[in-house]
């Protein structure tokens, strides 16, 4: 029974949103300035899904600030969740699944931290968590659904039932989740914060509407006119967004649809270090990839230009 009333208090969440200015003005900031808007104790909803369009640059910039007592929520949590745990930044993880993928086996970090009770782990079904964000995006405290019924998952967060006043059917009342912050990476944004996403949108449109503060990185900052030429491609309206940073390869080495492929071999190296040294493998990785580089460009340089170019080439090939 772990859902916090703050997560579904739609009235308070709306008051927070009402208090924010919604200027149609420029929101371009540096990656570091965007990450600085996240405060200790925040619930951070992470965009993308698994190793697709993960806002890794924002996670990178966030962890460098040595934050504390965060909650990370995500539909399928990839190794950014492990980073948060090992870095001592994350007290609670909300997700439907954690790992990288079948070839990489169970997440040893998840096992270590959950089995020892060092992190609170709140599990929902994939749709269950999606509906939590959706309810918040719609500004309501719950949504009725047929999912999770009868399963052990109903007891994990403290799910309740609701009776349909027309049919008498009893459904799962999936509680809203209003995160403090949503972090999102997209292919294209303009200075006003309008975001366009190519390929699968994952749950990014919903978390942008659900969160009190929305931080975006974009592969490309385009002219407002280009957004307006194809307004029907805009997934996240500018007035929902607080800060936009221009970060090419902002998901790398995770994939960004149409822009670059993921790097499964890098994942394997990462997992091998964990198999050898446990959490120490992650700590070493963080030291090398997160804390040591002076900028995101230096972080990318650790991979090398030709590797980035090959990932981009595969990305194009897989979408044409």
């Amino acid at each position: 029974m772990t859902i916090a009333p703050r997560e579904y208090d739609f009235e308070a969440a709306r008051r927070r949103l009402e208090a924010k200015p919604k200027a149609a003005g420029p929101k371009l900031v540096s990656l570091e300035a965007a990450a600085a808007l996240i405060k200790d104790g925040d619930h951070v909803a992470i965009g993308g899904c698994l190793y697709s369009r993960t806002p890794l640059a924002l996670v990178w910039a966030l962890l460098r600030r040595r934050p504390r007592h965060l909650t990370f929520s995500r539909n399928l949590m990839c190794y950014e969740g492990e980073w948060g745990m090992v870095a001592g930044a994350v007290d609670k993880v909300v997700t439907s699944w954690m790992g990288i993928g079948l070839p990489w086996g169970l997440s040893r970090i998840q096992r270590e931290f959950v089995e020892a009770g060092r992190v609170e782990f709140e599990e929902w079904s994939h749709l269950g968590l999606g509906l939590r964000y959706r309810a918040a995006a719609m500004g309501v405290p719950f949504l009725p659904s047929l999912t999770m019924l009868g399963s052990g998952l109903m007891g994990v967060g403290g799910s309740r039932m609701v009776e349909c006043p027309y049919t008498g059917a009893r459904l799962h009342a999936v509680p809203a989740l209003f995160p403090d912050v949503a972090i999102i990476h997209v292919q294209r944004a303009d200075r006003l914060g309008n975001c366009q996403i190519d390929g699968y949108p994952h749950m990014d449109g919903d978390i942008a509407r659900a969160a009190s503060t929305v931080l975006v990185t974009a592969e490309e900052i385009v002219d407002e006119d280009e957004i307006r030429r194809h307004g029907d491609r805009t997934v996240i309206p500018g007035f929902t967004v607080d800060a936009v940073a221009h970060v090419p390869y902002g998901s790398y080495p995770h994939e960004c649809y149409g822009a670059y492929d993921s790097e499964p071999e890098h994942f394997t190296t990462y997992v091998e270090a964990i198999q050898q040294r446990g959490a120490g493998g992650v700590a070493d990785y963080l030291e090398r990839y997160v804390y040591a580089p002076g900028s995101h460009a230096e972080y990318l340089a650790l991979f090398g230009e030709s590797r980035l170019a090959r990932a981009a080439e595969r990305g194009r090939m897989l979408t044409t």
């Binding site: 190793y51 997700t95 070839p103 169970l106 079904s125 749709l127 019924l149 459904l171 994952h202």
Partner: protein
């Protein structure tokens, strides 16, 4: 040709899929089975993949590892997003839900959450992902898994994804108005669930597999269908398609 466990599961799973239907397919073996069906007897099969991908045509040699990547979305007909994909399932658009292995019990309940107590488990598993949703929302559900005794247990430690729960009409009592597990396809045979108590029942054995092996690798008593049959071995055509799709044998072992 010798046949790997993964190939056997893919072939036996594929054969359970009918042409001109829709399948919501989970990652791993179900994906291989679905794409094999689509390339063989079921060209009119539409796949939905959990990442919000409708009707892709995967590229041989570029099969997806996850449900949320460009390989999974290759030449998709639609990309509605994850929540909306599952809502299509809730509305009733998927004839079949197809998910992979886990700890499973006699009533088809699945555990992918935790071995031992849930709060402080002995082994924390990855979690539901979309399995709970697929098993709750699709019109019928098929499960594909390696048949090992540690997986087949009297009662799962935790019900991540509800099969028939306590059996009988328990699904309906809990508000699960639709669907249910129709088939379990393992490396030993094909299983169903009897109509009343919904207990696991062996319907067919794969060539060379015996009831003794089933009993030996199952932690509870399995009913035996009075019409027990034997499946046909994978054909050369089926295996050739699988190997064309996965020339590096990344998925078929």
């Amino acid at each position: 040709m010798s046949v790997t466990a993964s190939e056997l599961l893919a072939v036996m799973g594929a054969r359970e899929l009918r042409d001109n239907t829709t399948v919501f397919t989970g990652v791993g073996a179900p994906m291989m089975a679905s794409v094999l069906a689509q390339r063989s007897h079921a060209p009119g099969l539409t796949m939905m993949v959990e990442g919000g991908v409708i009707g892709p045509m995967w590229k041989p040699g570029e099969l997806p590892i996850s449900t949320n990547e460009m390989r999974a979305a290759y030449r998709a007909q639609a990309l509605p997003g994850i929540t909306d994909a599952f809502l299509l399932a809730q509305r009733g658009f998927f004839d079949v839900g197809f998910i992979g292995g886990a700890q499973i019990d006699r009533h088809g309940n699945l555990n992918t959450s935790a071995i031992g107590g849930y709060a402080r488990p002995k082994v924390r598993l990855p979690g539901s992902g979309g399995a709970n949703d697929i098993i709750s929302l699709c019109r019928e559900v098929m499960i594909l898994t390696v048949h090992e005794k540690r997986r087949f247990t009297e009662r799962v430690d935790f019900v991540t994804s509800p099969g028939y729960l306590e059996g009988g009409d328990a699904r309906r009592r809990h508000g699960l108005l639709f669907g249910g597990v129709s088939r379990l396809i393992t490396t030993l045979g094909i299983f169903g669930f009897d109509n009343e108590d919904h207990r696991m029942e062996v319907l067919a054995l794969h060539p060379g597999c015996t009831l003794e092996q089933v009993r030996e690798h199952t932690g509870f008593e399995v009913l035996v269908s009075p019409r027990l049959t034997t499946t046909k071995p994978p054909t050369d055509e089926e295996l050739a398609i699988l190997r064309m799709l996965d020339p590096a044998r990344q998925f078929i072992g």
